[in-house]
């Protein structure tokens, strides 16, 4: 079975891949991949919640915006996210994330600085959506 999230090689940084039945689901698992790099082993729990919206008509730029917005929300709220929900309504995207204060959960991980446009793609493959890009660590 194809794993819902995965990684691919990049010299300096790390490539992430999210997969799902919908674009939103693929974006959510891409977020799981990205936060697994930062969280290290074990789940951060789901004691806090944030919600936000953004507007983006380009689906590939929407992936980068979604991931970078999550990084910013995580950093500014001091949270390590472990669960994600994204809903698309035309050009509008409504995102949610659940997590826990990251002091206790970040041990063992590596900071992700941002999601890049490198090897960025969002496409349907064999009836499943796949979202991928390189994240800068």
């Amino acid at each position: 079975m194809t794993p819902v999230y995965d990684f691919f090689d990049h010299d300096a940084d790390i490539g992430i891949v999210g997969r799902g039945a919908t674009v939103e689901a693929a974006f959510e698992t891409a977020a799981e991949a990205m936060f697994s790099i930062m969280a290290g082993p074990g789940s951060a729990g789901r004691v806090s919640h944030v919600a936000f919206e953004f507007e983006e008509e380009d689906v590939e730029l929407a992936l980068v915006t979604w991931l970078n917005r999550l990084l910013a929300e995580a950093r500014s709220h001091g949270l390590m996210f472990s669960a994600f929900k994204l809903t698309q309504d035309g050009d509008r995207w409504h995102g949610e994330a659940w997590g826990a204060p990251w002091g206790r959960h970040a041990i063992g991980g590596v900071e992700v600085k941002g999601a890049t446009l490198t090897m960025l793609s969002v496409k349907a493959i064999d009836g499943q959506w796949e979202a991928r890009c390189v994240v800068d660590v």
């Binding site: 990684f7 691919f8 090689d9 990049h10 010299d11 300096a12 940084d13 790390i14 930062m38 290290g40 590939e60 730029l61 980068v64 915006t65 970078n68 990084l71 910013a72 950093r75 500014s76 001091g78 390590m80 990251w102 002091g103 970040a106 041990i107 063992g108 991980g109 590596v110 900071e111 600085k113 941002g114 999601a115 890049t116 446009l117 490198t118 960025l120 390189v134 800068d136 660590v137």
Partner: protein
């Protein structure tokens, strides 16, 4: 890398001839270094060579590796008056990442009995790793002042001594910073991150000068064999990351709107003179000042830690230089002086002897250049050379030879740390994953990089530094 596409100009310089709609590219480095580079380096620098307003060739340094947008180790000059562009991918997310290099009044014999205590103290005092915050909590208004004043802001609050400033590039403050072009989210991310090291390849390392290559330059830099020195490698933290994030997408859209044909979307850019280009420039300069301030605060924390463990310990700034920037500089091109925006993405500025921007003390030797190697091998101090063919640029590190994923398959953090301890190198980190990703074997041979840097005429070797203790993020 497939070298068959390149023309060897000399043993340390290779040319990718101009193609359709593309200027030539020059790749500096020896055959062993270039042949082990990923083909993506060539593809990326070839794409950079197609950007509008490029002056001369696009170039890579001997430590180049595959990045995003530009390759890491990429150098490119653009003329604003000829439609030249500025690219967020040509600077990187970690804007003004660089190295503060400090010399001490101590020898290895002085610190050897206390090395473990010193490493522990530095680990306690230097906030490092994912999510770690510093003691400073800055409001958006205070951060605006940091962005405008740079390292002087830190000095005004007791972090450091006035003697540090002349030895920081731009005297610790670059002009042209526009805090209004930095998003509220970027300021929010930075609230608790001043005076923090970060993660990934960032470090604070206690080193010993093991070999002197150039006694005169070493004397000017205040270095001697057996001396303890310190390197602090970090950048503009969350603020810089968010600026990179914000402008990556906005510049991609600007390029599309302005009809700039990009060989790859990751080269997101806008003309320097466009509103988007000017906004990014203002925000990036603000981030440069934040990075210089951050390293100033960390310098102060390192001094405190040293003094706590070793009575009478002193640390003086040799130099502080960034390697992720775009700067407006004057360079000679075809016998004419031109004002150019020099992108250095993972490349160190290396001004030659006599350059007015370097401190009086180094006017005869050239600017100190630091090649930060891996935590198990060593680093080099070099000096800028007259006639540098790469817009006064040089290598910045060993350069990765293996991806992080591959490194995780090869090494385990705990075993690696134990192995390094056996070699006399103490590692302090919370992240075993980070340690494994940064394994010395995942990097190129720093000796080859430093040698190629010298032989290519980019900078001359002054001293080799052996690591003794390293705080990793």
């Amino acid at each position: 890398m497939d070298l068959s596409r390149l023309k060897r100009l000399d043993p340390y310089c290779w040319s990718l001839p101009a193609g359709e709609g593309r200027a030539p590219a020059l790749l500096y480095g020896s055959e062993p270094l270039l042949s082990t580079m990923d083909d993506k380096v060539l593809e990326q620098i070839s794409n950079v060579a197609a950007l509008p307003g490029l002056v001369g060739p696009a170039m890579t340094m001997p430590d180049a590796h595959w990045g995003y947008g530009f390759p890491i180790g990429g150098v490119a000059a653009f003329d604003a008056e000829q439609g030249g562009i500025i690219s967020a991918g040509g600077v990187g997310f970690d804007i003004s990442c660089g190295i503060r290099f400090l010399r001490s009044n101590l020898t290895l014999d002085d610190i050897a009995p206390e090395l473990s205590r010193l490493a522990d103290q530095l680990y306690r005092d230097i906030p490092a790793g994912v999510g770690e915050e510093g003691n400073l909590k800055l409001s958006p208004e205070e951060l605006d002042r940091v962005m405008l004043k740079g390292a002087q802001w830190a000095l005004d609050r007791g972090y450091g001594v006035p003697e540090d400033l002349p030895y920081i590039e731009e005297h610790g403050r670059i002009g042209g910073a526009v805090p209004d072009k930095v998003s509220p989210l970027a300021k929010k991310r930075q609230r608790g991150e001043m005076g923090t090291l970060g993660s990934g390849n960032h470090y604070l390392e206690v080193q010993v000068v093991e070999k002197i290559y150039d006694p005169l330059a070493a004397a000017a830099f205040g270095l001697h064999q057996g001396q303890v020195v310190v390197s602090i490698h970090c950048g503009s933290r969350g603020l810089g990351h968010q600026i990179g994030t914000d402008y990556l997408v906005s510049l991609a859209k600007a390029a599309s709107r302005l009809g700039i044909r990009l060989p790859d979307r990751e080269l997101a850019c806008a003309p320097i003179k466009s509103p988007e280009g000017q906004e990014y420039l203002g925000a990036m300069n603000a981030a440069i000042n934040v990075a210089l301030t951050n390293r100033q605060i960390l310098t102060h924390l390192a001094r405190q830690a040293f003094s706590h463990v070793i009575y009478g310990a002193e640390l003086e700034t040799v130099y502080d230089v960034s390697h992720n920037t775009c700067k407006l500089e004057t360079h000679q091109v075809d016998g004419q002086k031109r004002r150019l925006h020099i992108h250095r993405k993972g490349a160190t500025r290396a001004f030659p002897p006599g350059h007015p921007a370097i401190p009086e003390r180094y006017r005869e030797t050239g600017q100190p250049v630091i090649i930060g190697g891996s935590m198990g091998t060593g680093s080099y101090v070099l000096a800028g050379l007259a006639g540098n063919p790469a817009y006064a640029s040089a290598s910045h590190g060993a350069g990765r030879a293996m991806s992080r994923n591959q490194a995780l398959k090869h090494w385990h953090g705990r075993e690696l740390i134990d192995q390094l301890k056996h070699q006399g190198i103490l590692i302090r980190t919370r992240s075993m994953r980070g340690a494994a990703e940064e394994a010395p074997g995942a990097y190129k041979d720093v000796d080859l990089v430093a040698e190629a840097t010298e032989k290519a005429g980019l900078a001359k070797r002054v001293a080799f530094l052996r690591p003794k203790a390293c705080v990793k993020g």
